[in-house]
Symmetry: C2
DNA sequence: ACTTGAGGAATGAATATTCATTCCTTTTCC
DNA sequence: GGAAAAGGAATGAATATTCATTCCTCAAGT
């Protein structure tokens, strides 16, 4: 054993020490997100995932019952993180318009800085998993959607928001923002501070009374 | 041979006559769209497709080099049909605002009446195929996008449309419409004539000066 | 009018591949 | 030493694609 193989041995030792329970799960999640965001669900076989994550194929199944469960949990992770980000400084007591702008800017900031999270959620939403999910969400609003609904109702009461169904409010308010973020991430446009503001503002124009 | 088996024989004869070249291809396309729209790309194995289309497995490969090519050509078919619909009565010489409303209403009408086409294109756009496709489209605008671009430029000249990049114009103008159609098709909302008008009108509010 | 046979369309069983999942072995940790 | 974790080769089901064969049509020959 020469100096090189010895230090390699130490490296492995260290890596394994660090990579205990929590870290392996994290590693799998991180890698799965990267791969799926770039190649899609069906472009990321479990074998590839285990290889890139540096774990055995069987190990994945210690943490996730099967691929479907992995995919859904991955989505929940992102959703939870975004929700936390949104709620951190949410201006609960401020006027409707201000809350609206806050949400809009949060979406843009968060996902521009986490393009993988964005591409993952987009894939998820537009897959069989997503449809089922969306149905639940609309019927039984939770988390960030719940706040949006409160916002919508407050806006309707105060007559600052148009008389439209909640669902259409979501569409008018957030669809252009999401699409714009996608275009930014794919490199079709660059969202600077001015443009971000202009987009959120335009969305507000489309829902305000 | 009784009367029934004889007429059945004629029916087969006729069917075979009719089901020549063009018709087989049509049958494959139609069936593939139905299946994929409902089950997704990966929920429609070629064996199922050939069974439902009433053709041999090998026959599909006489018309389409492989599954990927089939998927892409299917998209082109839809795109072509929509383009034709949009152009049929396009009010070229009328004011920008009127053209905008025409396009918005066309999108809603067309896809509400062809939910399979809609679900197919949505799946396509949000898959690895779609990204590549979108890139080409934005760089080298053709068909309906070309008309939208002309509209945008005319609107900018006349100062009736905001000073924003073309891509963002697309996002503001069409994202909410597409999302609303999706919600209608999935049954989350019902778009009556009033609501359709209100949506297109709101989109106009968001891009107009 | 009837037969023959060439051309090519259609078929679907067989093949090759891909992939999620399992299972047994090795390693790590206490 | 033994339990828990990790590894990764082996498995078998699912799937796209191929290809040898059949079937159909129609034109030519008698």
């Amino acid at each position: 054993m020469n100096i090189h193989s010895f230090s390699f041995f130490l490296f492995l030792k260290k890596k394994n020490k660090i990579m205990s329970k929590i870290d392996k799960r994290e590693e799998i999640i991180k890698t799965a997100m990267e791969l799926i965001a770039e190649q899609g669900f069906h472009g990321t076989p479990m074998a590839l995932l285990s290889e890139k994550a540096g774990v055995g194929a069987g190990t994945i199944y210690r943490y996730f019952e099967n691929k479907d469960v992995l995919i859904k949990e991955l989505y929940n992770e992102i959703d939870k993180k975004f929700k936390a980000f949104l709620m951190e400084n949410y201006p609960h007591e401020r006027p409707v318009r201000e809350c609206f702008f806050y949400i809009g800017k949060c979406i843009i900031e968060y996902f521009i800085n986490k393009p993988l999270d964005f591409r993952y959620t987009e894939q998820f939403h537009n897959s069989p998993y997503g449809i089922e999910f969306r149905r639940n969400k609309l019927i039984n609003l939770t988390g960030e959607d719940y706040f949006c609904r409160i916002l919508f109702e407050k806006g309707r009461e105060q007559q600052v928001i148009k008389t439209i169904p909640l669902v259409i409010f979501f569409d008018l308010a957030f669809a252009p923002i999401i699409w714009a973020v996608r275009d930014h991430i794919l490199g079709f446009v660059t969202l600077d501070e001015d443009l971000k503001m202009q987009i959120v503002s335009s969305c507000w124009d489309s829902v305000k009374m």
